[in-house]
Every structure is written in C-alpha cells, then in structure tokens.
Symmetry: C2
Subunit: 132 residues, 2 copies
C-alpha cells in the first residue's frame, strides 16, 4: 500500500471532484467542482490534473479523446495519509490530544459521540483478541 503522494489543497479539491465522478474528463471534473461551488477555468483544471498525473495521483487514458482521468488511490487512503501528516506536523504525533480537542469543541454532535463510543468499544475488543 504505497503512500499517496503529497497534494496541495487545490489539487486535493480536484481529487475530490474526480472521486465524485469516479473517473472522467477535464469537463467532468470541472462540472463536479462547479457543483461544489468551486468554479475554475477549464485550463486551470487541466493544469491541476496534469500536475496530479505527474505525481502519479491520477492516471490518464490517452487512447480516448478527450482524455479520461482516473484516481490512482482510494479517497480513504489519501485522507488517512493527509491526516497522519497533520497529526505529526501539528500535534507532534499526539492523536489523542487532537481528538480531545474536537470533543471539547462541540465539533461533534451527540450522534457522532455515540458512534465514536461504539467504535472505541469495538477497537478495544479487537485489541484484546489480538493479545490472546
């Protein structure tokens, strides 16, 4: 599971649009960006997809014109990698401290809190199983 390449925020926005359409042309991606309220010139989207291709975050099918772009990594992997970088750089690797921040902050709804509790319970069960 190769680490996904670093991306700037503009690049990440384009990736999100691409994930949304699964795979598509510049125009498709541009449309998806528009729906998210992130309008960009056609050529700008092309530039960004080009840069993403250069760093192997997307692959281009050139047999078909207009070219079709496809993400190389699943969204979940990329977000996870971004998250780990962030935890390391900003919270010095203290993931727990980050989570406590969010809990204190009311960034999480009561439903969110319950979902997290459930997931923690599962994780703890899994941990015990592994030890056995």
């Amino acid at each position: 599971m190769a680490r996904s390449p670093d991306m700037t925020s503009a690049e990440l926005r384009v990736m999100k649009a691409l994930w949304e359409v699964g795979s598509g042309t510049v125009a498709d991606v541009r449309g998806a960006l528009g729906k998210r309220g992130q309008e960009l010139a056609y050529t700008t989207v092309m530039t960004l997809l080009g840069r993403l291709a250069a760093k192997h975050a997307v692959v281009v099918d050139r047999t078909r014109e207009p070219f079709v772009y496809r993400p190389v990594h699943r969204k979940e992997s990329v977000l996870r990698d971004r998250l780990h970088d962030f935890v390391r750089e900003v919270f010095d690797g203290q993931a727990a401290s980050l989570v406590l921040n969010l809990v204190d902050d009311e960034s999480l709804s009561p439903a969110d809190l319950r979902a997290i509790e459930r997931r923690i319970a599962e994780a703890e069960r899994a941990g015990k199983d592994r030890k056995k």
Copy 2:
C-alpha cells in the same frame, strides 16, 4: 477571541519553539529548535520570526536588545484553529469521520481510548445540562 493568523509549517515549528521558551530572543528560539532536532541558521529563524511578527502572530519588544519575541496566541488556540481548517478542507467538515479514522487506525493507545471515552461522557453530561 480573534482567529490566529495562518502559518506555514516552518512558521508553526518556530511558534512551537517559542511557546516552549515562553518568550525569548532569536537565540533562545533557535536553541529550542535545535533541541527538537530542527537546526536552522540564525538568520533563518530571524526571518521566520519577522514574518510571524508581520502577521501579528508574535509581538516584539524592541526596547531591549536583543529583541524579545512573545507569542500573541496561546498554543491551544492556534492548534485548534489549524485543526478546524484541516477538518473543513480535508474532511469537508466531517469531524466524526476523522475521529473514526484514527480509532480504526490504531493511532490511539488503549489509554488514549479510555481517556477519550471519559471525555465523551463528560461532554454528553454537559450537553444535557445545557438543554435543561
């Protein structure tokens, strides 16, 4: 509670060093950076502190030479602001999804998990109180 200004990662590293010493001169900050294994030329630290001063992230006491730099915001506020930006930009505001990621990932030790559970319980209690 004014939002803390945006900072690049190099600037944030300098801020962390400054928080560590409380307040201090370029040499102090440079020393703290060294202890964290982040050696930089004296002038580089100065440049970064200058940029931070320009965006009002630190204040400079020029009555005393060498100048003494002091953070304007508490570390907690700055990290919180960084965190919120990150949640918005990367996780589209879905803080819960970020937390679930971390739980699944074993980024959190069993002790971390328990601490989080406790904090969630408190938050839920506080939520009820507010409603009443």
